[in-house]
């Protein structure tokens, strides 16, 4: 018999509803009234499975070194950024640490500089001398108006992966290719109709004309971008227009490029085309090599890599594509403790070497680069030490300046590239119109929001 110290008969509908109410109140108290001793918890949100697996293996070491700390790793996958946005909007429920992907960071930088939901890490980085220990250009995607909101997880240098056997069969030695002009000459030899039916059977390179990925990589390689360091739109610069003219010419004039099969470079359709020897080369960041290895292991030994062709002899042989940062949110109750975890996961040499072992991602910490693992022959590339090539290219990575308008700009840039490649507009028309749209958008916002939100004001 249930005995309660109050008059249960007087309660509307009797004991049942009253017990439910009591349980509801108790559980509410339990959920919201947790004691402060759990303040040592650190919540760390992740969106990439490979990162999650890496931290799952290494966080227990951190917890053993810091017995009072309990780290909760949560992998939300692709929906993480939306969840983070909701948590920051409601000013409740954000984690202590969070990883953010490079194409998503722009949306978190909107609004007055003091409203941004991440802690400025510049003072800590400078005080402890980390800026010099990492590739400094990799801070630019995570910096805005003088503040640094994240630490780079990676470098993502890009190389040219190519089918050595097929280029050689066409009489081309790819190691002799230095510039894009050399590549076009080589590509014309290698792009061939093998069965004489009038249709090209193998293309020298596969490029994405649906999105900005390849075009923007080429633009960054030359030091260009969508926005400059001060937030000005520069996508209609002569450099950007000439690059798009070059990009479209690879498809339409030289006819050595094929559009990506499927919806992106990682589409099964694209892998099928590679296996059918329809694609002879691809611009590949380090993470993409990891994807290739896992998705088309049967192509092991068929690929080789060189630095990207440069725009002038002796010019830059790489660019950067993709990236992730880790930041400490302003909702974090113990930023010092979060900073310790950040350093453990991002600056720890053995950890970064382990990361390369599992993901083939080159770390931004220069002190890790002399590890023997980076010089090891890569079976997938027929024994070529790919890590060594990436590390040779890493110090020359271009800067990629961040801007709150990046998401809108990238969306419109996708359309402009597609319009130019499909010859609906000339590259000049497409980029001039694009720049005008983005400038109009920014000017309108500026007129509404005024000085407080001045994008160029440091």
């Amino acid at each position: 018999m249930l005995c309660l110290p109050i008059d249960t008969d007087g309660f509307p509908l009797g004991k049942g509803p009253m017990v439910m109410l009591v349980l509801f109140l108790l559980s509410t108290f339990f959920i919201f009234g947790r004691s402060e001793e759990e303040g040592e918890d650190l919540e760390f949100w992740i969106f990439a499975n490979t990162h999650y697996e890496e931290y799952q293996a290494r966080v227990p070491i951190f917890e053993a070194q810091n017995p009072s700390v309990n780290v909760r790793l949560i992998n939300f996958g692709g929906t993480m950024h939306d969840k983070l946005l909701a948590a920051m909007l409601s000013n409740f429920g954000a984690p202590d640490l969070v990883e953010v992907e490079i194409t998503s960071i722009g949306r978190f930088l909107k609004g007055a500089i003091d409203e941004i939901g991440f802690v400025d890490l510049r003072p800590r980085l400078e005080r402890e001398g980390w800026m010099d220990k990492l590739v400094v250009s990799r801070f630019t995607p995570w910096s805005y108006r003088g503040r640094i909101f994240g630490v780079p997880h990676d470098l993502h240098p890009v190389v040219l992966l190519y089918r050595d056997d097929l280029f050689k069969a066409a009489g081309v030695e790819m190691t002799e290719v230095e510039t894009w002009d050399d590549f076009i000459a080589a590509g014309k030899k290698a792009t061939r109709d093998l069965d004489g039916d009038g249709k090209i059977d193998q293309y020298a390179i596969v490029l994405d004309r649906r999105t900005e990925s390849d075009y923007f990589s080429l633009l960054l390689q030359q030091g260009g971008g969508f926005f400059d360091e001060d937030g000005n739109v520069i996508i209609d610069s002569e450099l950007a227009i000439e690059t798009l003219e070059f990009f479209t010419a690879l498809f339409n004039e030289h006819e050595i490029a094929t559009p990506v099969y499927g919806t992106w470079h990682g589409d099964p359709s694209n892998f099928a085309a590679m296996q059918d020897s329809k694609i002879l080369s691809i611009l590949a960041p380090d993470w993409y090599v990891g994807i290739l290895k896992s998705q088309v292991p049967q192509m092991a030994g068929k690929w080789k890599a060189i630095g990207m062709p440069s725009w002038q002899p002796g010019g830059r042989r790489t660019t950067t594509r993709g990236g992730t940062m880790v930041g400490i949110t302003k909702q974090c109750k113990n930023p010092d403790r979060a900073w310790e975890l950040l350093k453990f996961t991002y600056f720890d040499r053995p950890g970064l070497i382990n990361r390369y072992e599992t993901t083939r991602i080159i770390p931004p910490l220069k002190a890790a680069w002399d590890a023997p693992i980076f010089k090891e022959p890569d079976v997938y590339l027929g024994g070529q030490p790919l890590g060594e090539l990436f590390i040779q290219l890493a110090p020359d990575l271009p800067a990629r300046y961040q801007n709150p308008y990046w998401s809108e700009a990238a969306d419109l840039l996708n359309d402009a590239i597609f319009a130019a490649v499909t010859e609906k507009q000339t590259p000049r028309e497409a980029l001039t119109e694009l720049a005008k749209k983005v400038r109009t958008l920014m000017a309108k916002d500026m007129s509404r929001w005024g000085e407080q939100h001045d994008l160029m004001k440091p």
Partner: protein
């Protein structure tokens, strides 16, 4: 709970009982109203207010009146998304619903064997989550090795279903047909089974052939079901999001796969233009309301009989 059955029972219990009688109905309906207010009422009013503001960052907002609405009507991507959505809706109504009706008629026929299995087979696709449908059809439309191109390539054309502007929406419509035709078939089947056999017998006595019976008996009898399926399918079509979003990797190329809800999502979550996204939501609401009323009117649902 004690129920007073005798006049000698204590007065207190009678008093409590009377009080419970008054309170109980409100307690019973309270969960719905509470949930409605928290999850529908408040967000609705909040989004209406939000549509009159421009929001920037996580805290700042300024009142812009109908500024977001005037911006939206001058936004070419919004119009393109609206066109794509209308394209899908028309494709759904003209392709998916006749197929659903045809399947229902076949399964209602006494000549078809294995009806239970066929019903399950046609209905099964709707049990697959939209995300997985998109993943499956990504492989079906695969340019190199996809099921569809394996056939088309014989005629010398390797179609980039998800890579060429003109093929994107047809690909989405065909996927929608696969997923939803069986679901709508069930409604039609239920409607067909509700038609009295005497009507067909009377039509036969009057000399009606199969087609005439279909036009003059089946279709008029199915009118309420057709109206319901039309309206529900139209609303579903106008709210299209997950299928093209995953299938086309965000609406590309050239926004050929962009829909109104996708554009709403992009503005709200990717561009952080929450006021603008709320405006798109309200415009969509009015479009759905107007289209639904027009449909019901055309189908004669408001007619008094």
């Amino acid at each position: 709970m004690k129920i007073p059955t005798h006049p000698n029972e204590p007065r207190r219990i009678i008093k409590n009982w009377n009080r419970q009688q008054k309170i109980a109905p409100y307690l019973f309906i309270a969960p719905f109203y509470l949930l409605f207010v928290v999850f529908m009422g408040y967000p609705l009013i909040s989004s209406l207010v939000m549509s009159l503001y421009e929001m920037r960052g996580f805290q700042s907002r300024i009142f812009v009146g109908f500024g977001n609405f005037t911006d939206l009507f001058g936004d070419p991507i919004f119009w393109k998304s609206l066109r794509n959505t209308a394209y899908f809706a028309i494709g759904t109504l003209t392709l998916q619903l006749p197929i659903a009706l045809l399947l229902a008629i076949l399964l209602n026929s006494k000549y078809v064997k294995g009806k239970n299995f066929l019903r399950l087979a046609f209905f099964a696709p709707v049990l697959v989550a939209g995300v997985f449908v998109a993943i499956i059809f990504n492989l079906v439309y695969d340019q190199r090795a996809g099921l569809i191109n394996q056939e088309f390539v014989l005629f010398g054309k390797e179609i980039g279903w998800l890579n060429e502007e003109n093929y994107v929406m047809p690909a989405v419509i065909l996927t929608g047909v696969w997923q939803w035709a069986g679901f709508n078939m069930i409604y039609f089947l239920a409607g067909l089974q509700g038609i009295r056999q005497e009507l067909y017998e009377a039509a036969a006595v009057d000399g009606a052939n199969w087609w005439q019976a279909f036009i003059h008996v089946t279709l008029p009898s199915l009118r309420p079901v057709i109206a319901f399926v039309f309206v529900v399918s139209m609303i579903g079509s106008l709210q299209l999001f997950d299928l093209p979003y995953i299938l086309t990797n965000g609406g590309e190329p050239a926004d050929a796969g962009s829909t109104i809800v996708m554009y709403l999502y992009k503005n709200g979550f990717q561009f952080m233009r929450l006021g603008y996204a709320a405006t798109i939501g309200w415009v969509l609401f009015f479009i759905i309301a107007v289209v639904s009323i027009v449909q019901l009117k055309l189908l004669g649902i408001f007619r008094e009989e």
